[in-house]
Amino acid sequence: MASIKGSRRRGLALHLPLIIGTLISAFPFYWAVIMSTHSSSEIFSYPPKLLPGTHFLENVRNLFDAIDFFGSMWNSLLVATSVTFLVLLFDSLAAFVFAKFEFPGKGLLFGLLMVIFMVPAQLSVIPQFVVMAKIGWIGSMTALIVPAAANAFGIFWMRQYMKTAIHDELLDASKLDGANFLRQYWHVALPVVRPGLAFLGIFTFMGQWNDFAWPLISLTNPDNVTLQVALSQLNGTHGTTDYGIVMTGALLALVPLLIVFAIGAKQIIGDLAKGAVRG
């Protein structure tokens, strides 16, 4: 009896703070739901509302009047999916080469890649802007897609993954069967590293979807922006921010992200942690 009581008390002492933590994690989402369902006059009244209201559809309508929501969502989807596709292709190809082949200059090129990994983004913001302005990409989604199409982090991460995941015997066997480099990549390497690709893909998609600083600078036409930039316009342009509308926009912008996260949550949480422990 006593031990059951003791373990119960221990369980409560453990789960109570964990539940409080969960509530704090979730609260801003709940708050956004509350605000997106109230009119601004309700929001500005005291005391703060704690339960959802009835003005959600009205806020949605006002949101669609205020910004080109679907246009900017399309831009975000276009950028995030193109970048994800290109990153998966280019990073996995390069990682496959670095993980499984020997060639002159390999050490040097890989060392260079690691140095690039550490160069902070601000250093390249101005020149990148100047280059893009010269070739006329400023204001278009190309300015977001091309520089992000391959990255050092992804190559490094995939290389670590491929080193152990792809067995040399498999490669040798496929070579004896007459498979060339591209066939080896497509038929031997890719099937084995699918979980790694899923992690990199989800990570890349979320990063691109949420990217803000560079789109804010490079998308100079306010009518043709990504969702994050459109949201920030919404927050800024009104003298007194209409929180009902802004919050509705913030909430709707989260939906695609939450879907992607829900699909890949197990993968991403597990793999992120693995990489960190390995150092």
Partner: protein, 317 residues
């Protein structure tokens, strides 16, 4: 590409059934496969970094002709009180966010490690803040910390404390930004710490318990030393990202500053280094000075990372 040709030929070459081809040509497909990254890097990485160094020795508004300025941009940077203010802001916000965050993340990880039930559910819930966009969540936090109708002031009022103008006072601004960062990154780091904890063999804990060690003693004598590599990783990542914070203060404070959307609120109290960089470059069109500021930021981040690295490494020895 000349570099490649000069590299030593001491590379293990597998005998090829088709016989040796000439020189580097037989490797062409390998070079082709890694080329996209390096091409992008040449255009948008190497050239930009070199160009930004060149730019920082010039005066340029982005349109007219460049003027040689020597070291004067850097001299001005050293005496620029706005830049030093932004360094101070950044470090204060970083400390306000990172220290509680690491503490909370570790405690959460230890609790998650001993909780058997609902572990996956907790992990999901704690990771959720990290996948949401900073823009959306900064807007949400702006309203939670709003002076007149925010939740935080409502709670303070309920317990009899006067409301605080969070987004209008120097400390209120910093605390709000730090709260947002802590909220977004604690769960992420807790999951990383949890993975580190799971590599600690359970026999160690059993042995400690047999020797009569309490939970606190166990934590400091066993858990903390073994978590040091993970702690180092978390600290370095939080330093590099935290010192380059931009979106949080930009979105939270863009409307409350009257001179620039990058000003960081009243009295520039929330202007981080990167915000200052954006203000100089894209609001003042001072590309030369902006480049110098970017190099200044780079230096601060590197210095700070080294200091953190040293602190964590030495403490355990």
């Amino acid at each position: 590409m000349a570099v490649i040709e000069q590299s030593p030929p001491a590379v293990a070459q597998r005998p090829s059934p088709t016989g040796p081809k000439k020189g580097l040509r037989k490797y062409w497909h390998l070079y082709a496969a890694i080329s996209p990254f390096y091409l992008i890097f040449l255009g948008f990485g190497l050239f930009p970094v070199g160009f930004s160094l060149y730019l920082s020795f010039h005066r340029w508004d982005g349109l007219g002709s460049m003027e040689w300025a020597g070291l004067s941009q850097y001299q001005y940077l050293l005496s620029d009180s706005d830049f030093w203010n932004s360094i101070g802001n950044t470090i204060i916000i970083w400390a306000l966010a990172t220290l509680p965050m690491i503490f909370l993340a570790m405690i959460t990880a230890v609790m998650l490690n001993s909780a058997v039930r609902f572990k996956n559910l907790y992990r999901f819930a704690y990771f959720l803040p990290n996948v949401t966009s900073v823009v959306a969540i900064a807007i949400v936090f702006g309203s939670i910390f709003s002076t007149n109708f925010g939740m935080v002031n409502a709670i303070l009022n309920a317990v009899g404390i006067d409301q605080i103008a969070w987004l209008n006072t120097p400390w209120g601004i910093k605390v709000t930004i730090a709260a947002l960062m802590t909220w977004q990154w604690t769960g992420y780091n807790a999951i990383i710490f949890l993975a580190g904890l799971q590599t600690v063999p359970s026999e160690l804990y059993e042995a400690a318990r047999m020797d009569g060690a309490g939970p606190v003693q166990t934590f400091f004598k066993i858990t903390l030393p073994l978590l040091r590599p993970t702690l180092l990783f978390v600290l370095v990542v939080s330093t590099v990202t935290g010192l380059q914070s931009f979106s949080e203060p930009q979105v939270l404070l863009q409307t409350s500053s009257n001179d620039s959307t990058f000003a960081g609120g009243p009295g520039h109290s929330g202007q981080t280094m990167v915000l200052y960089f954006f203000q100089q470059t894209f609001d003042n069109n001072d590309f030369g000075y902006g480049a110098a500021v970017a190099w200044g930021i780079f230096l601060v981040v590197v210095l700070f990372s080294i200091i953190n690295w040293r602190l964590v490494q030495r403490r355990g020895d």
